[in-house]
């Protein structure tokens, strides 16, 4: 399985070579939470997309790997790419702004990415990642509708909520959130294994 993760790293290396410098550049301005989130998702999904062709699935499944390992390598790999982005942000902030990134911010990025991946991966295994855009757009339209018709100030509320989370002192709450996110990630992992085992190539 370690080989599968290493393969993903080799495959996204060209992407990383472009993305990481841009990531560092974008740290000069703007909050690192959203940048960190977007870059993590972009890198993780590009690693995912490189293995989506039927012919590549034929290859991976003909090699001595089990389907469980193939799926698991993606989930562990996602975590590695996420760490890489977070690490880059941490070092970037240290060098550029001479400040140590607040651990709450890092935790926030990690949780956000993990939740997103927990939704994206099973969806992409079931359908295809190319439909993610459509799926996300549909969600976005729904979101806008909700914002316009039901709570008109949802954006402010979310901003407030994020601010509140970051301002919170209680470490117990963080533990709880961490636990929920991890549980979601593991459930998504198991679900993806289930979906992938039934696929036909």
């Amino acid at each position: 399985m370690f080989n599968l993760i290493r393969k993903d790293i080799v495959l996204v290396k060209p992407t990383l070579m472009i993305m990481l410098p841009i990531l560092v550049l974008s740290l000069f301005q703007g909050p690192s939470i959203y940048i960190g989130f977007l870059f993590s998702i972009a890198i993780i999904m590009s690693a995912f997309a490189s293995d989506e062709k039927t012919s590549i699935n034929t290859l991976l499944n003909s090699l001595p790997y089990t389907r469980k390992e193939i799926v698991s390598s993606k989930y562990i790999g996602a975590f590695i790419f996420l760490s890489l982005v977070v690490f880059t942000i941490f070092i970037g902030n240290l060098v550029i702004h001479k400040e140590i990134t607040i651990w709450k911010e890092i935790l926030f990025i990690v949780c956000l990415v993990m939740v997103t991946i927990s939704l994206f991966f099973p969806f992409s295994y079931k359908f295809k990642s190319q439909y993610l855009l459509i799926g996300t757009l549909v969600l976005f339209v729904l979101y806008l509708t909700v914002v316009n018709f039901i709570f008109q100030n949802i954006n402010d509320k979310i901003r407030e909520f994020v601010g509140m989370l970051l301002a919170l002192q209680s470490s117990q709450l963080y533990l709880l959130v961490g636990f929920i996110v991890t549980a979601l990630y593991v459930c998504s992992w198991l679900l993806s294994i289930r979906i992938y085992s039934k696929k036909i190539f």
Partner: protein, 289 residues
């Protein structure tokens, strides 16, 4: 004799196609050619053997092991070649090797280098620039570089020029010399089989029609030619199927000796090609439906 591949009572249905109670075995140490027309289930069968598909019913056992418990162990011992490119197009062969090599315990770099040299493959060119023939050679190189005991190939010779086809058959022939390896390959170019196949497995419309030793096919089957007056309801039953014309009939028999006894000198017997056998068997199978 030991069976390397054993499929028992396999059933698998898709939309508009199904394998019905397919059972077949592949013997260790021999080359088995897997023939049948287009869309009769050859690729599906190969996918079942590779565990790319799971049967709805029935059992698949490779080296006497099942996939449920021994998936990795089985795949370690299989070399595979598919008729399409299954490598990452944007990588070079050298990069592709780096990805495949760690998957196998018995990977042999010297052997890999040797095949690359024999096939004159470029290591640093992207795979998407490869021609069909080079692609095939690259697949074969990967399949042969980890001392696999069982080589499974899906239409390896389709789209290859005749010279390389012959070279390929020679390579396969050399591989078989130690008696430990088994080759199972599907093809619809039946002349390939004349050169190397020990056994022929023939399927039609998802059904296994026969697996026979190649030389026995030549002994048992014959093309029979004679006048139409020889045919009546009883004699027609002696044939797999018959093609009649105004000048006489041509038919395939699966029992050459019996035909010799019945008709003696009145008919002409010819050695059938595999294509004849496929053609008449298909025709015969359709008549009884």
């Amino acid at each position: 004799m030991e069976n390397v591949i054993e499929l028992q009572h396999i059933q698998k249905s898709f939309d508009g196609f199904q394998l019905k109670d397919l059972s077949l075995t592949v013997k260790k140490g021999f080359v088995t050619g897997f023939i049948g027309g287009n869309g009769v289930g050859k690729s599906t069968t190969i996918k079942l053997i590779m565990n790319l598909l799971q049967p709805d019913n029935g059992t698949v056992s490779i080296f006497g092991l099942n996939y449920k418990e021994h998936e990795k162990e089985i795949k370690q011992r299989i070399g595979f070649v598919f008729d399409e490119n299954i490598f990452y197009e944007n990588l070079t062969l050298a990069e592709m090797k780096k990805i495949i090599k760690p998957a196998y315990k018995n990977w042999d770099d010297n052997l890999f280098a040797q095949y690359v040299k024999t096939f004159e493959l470029p290591l640093n060119k992207k795979i998407k620039t490869f021609s069909k023939g080079m692609m095939m050679k690259a697949s074969l190189t990967m399949a042969l570089s980890h001392h696999a005991e069982l080589i499974i190939m899906d239409e390896p010779t389709s789209g290859l020029d005749p010279i390389f086809r012959r070279e390929l058959l020679d390579i396969l022939h050399d591989l078989m010399q130690d008696g430990e390896k088994t080759i199972f390959f599907s093809t619809h170019i039946t002349t390939d089989l004349d050169r190397i196949a020990d056994y022929i497995t023939f399927i039609h419309k998802g059904e296994h029609l026969f697996t026979k030793e190649f030389y026995k096919i030549e002994e048992e089957y014959a093309i029979v030619k004679g006048g139409n007056e020889l045919l009546d309801r009883d004699t027609e039953r002696e044939f797999v199927s018959i093609r009649k014309s105004n000048h006489g009939f041509e038919a395939l028999t699966a029992n050459k000796k019996r035909i010799e006894n019945i008709f003696g000198e009145m008919v002409m017997l010819e050695k059938p090609t595999l294509e004849d056998i496929m053609f008449y068997t298909k025709k015969g199978a359709e008549q009884y439906v």
